[in-house]
Amino acid sequence: MMGTEVFEAEIALAVNGAERRVPKGWTLADLLTSLELDLRLVVVERNGTIVRDRSSFASLALSADDAIEIVHFVGGG
């Protein structure tokens, strides 16, 4: 039963195209903090919609199979 409990305590989602397992109940802010990202310098898209309000990151609960895209500015012409 131990294994089942671990499984149920995590959800799988796609972050920048790669599968990631995170604890159930995590918010978007939890994810971004765990990735050590500067929240002011990134833009986040969840399931194709931009999460414009950065103050909502902490209240936005992640769901299984969410597709999260985290982008920023890089050099380009």
Binding site: V15, L41, V71, H72
Partner: protein, 271 residues
């Protein structure tokens, strides 16, 4: 009057300020930020170019690498006017998605819109470009549209609400210089919005010749970044853009297929 005074802006003002979407810029040279050997070199080159408008790309954060790779760790958004591009987008919906992400970064609503139609030439997909322009203009974006040197497309982009039309001199990253000066001049003559030549400038003389056509400005990246000494080339491009603008405003002499002496033909000594 000393030579330096002649070149001072106070005495040689530009009769037509460089204004895009109501915003005035001093420099007619805009630069990209790609392909530099280091961030330090990029910053030094941009400073040497005198550019105010600086383009950047939108990409996924590489979650496995150093947190330091985002360009905003190096480029001060208060010091430059950052414009996000949609480089790498091959259809209108991708370009619209990238434009929205760029705007959400929070600097401005400007976008250098690219919809690429072909991997080998990176020539624009003009149908997709027009479609994306219409949508983005409706959403309040200031669209600077990268296009080919076709007059009709340029006119359609202007009608669709683009704040600037950016025809190519030659393909992106080719350094071939301006392949069709006639087409560029025609576009400039027929459009009311600023015409900014984007892509293909390989060296300072290319930039000068482009500006001599009377266009409003130039956007370049590889011409500076891929030079042996990008910082010096950036300085050369700054001079070239200014020189070309002055030459255009000055009005060149007519071309003649015969020689005309510069010195008097009278007053020669007797034999």
């Amino acid at each position: 009057m000393a030579h330096a005074d002649l070149l001072a802006p106070a005495t040689l003002t530009d009769p037509q300020p460089f204004v895009i979407a109501g915003r005035e810029f001093r420099s007619r040279l805009m630069v990209g930020t790609g392909k530099y050997a280091s961030n330090a070199q990029m910053i030094e080159a941009i400073e040497a170019s005198g550019a105010e408008v600086v383009t950047v790309a939108v990409r996924r954060v590489d979650l496995d690498r150093s947190k330091d790779e985002g360009i905003l760790h190096h480029l001060d958004p208060d010091h430059f006017f950052l414009v996000a591009n949609t480089a790498g987008c091959y259809n209108a919906s991708d370009a619209i998605r990238y434009a929205r992400l760029g705007r959400a970064a929070g600097f401005n609503e400007w976008v250098k819109l690219e919809v690429i139609g072909d991997q080998q030439t990176l020539l624009p997909d003009t149908a997709g470009l027009l479609q994306a322009t219409e949508t983005l203009v409706e959403e309040g974006f200031k669209v600077l549209a990268y296009t080919n040197d076709d007059l009709i497309t340029a006119l359609r982009l202007e009608q669709a609400g683009a704040v600037a039309v950016m025809p190519l001199a030659s393909p992106i990253g080719s350094g071939l210089g301006m392949l069709n000066p006639y087409a560029i001049r025609t576009i400039k003559q027929r459009l009311s919005v600023p015409v900014i030549v984007d892509a293909g400038v390989g060296t300072a003389s290319d930039a000068c010749i482009v500006m001599e056509q009377g266009v409003d400005g130039i956007l370049m990246n590889t011409g500076i970044a891929a030079a042996q000494d990008p910082v010096r080339m950036a300085a050369a491009m700054k001079s070239a853009v200014e020189a070309g603008r002055h030459a255009y405003l000055a009005g060149r002499m007519p071309r003649r297929e015969v020689a005309v002496p510069s010195s008097p033909t009278t007053g020669m000594l007797g034999a």
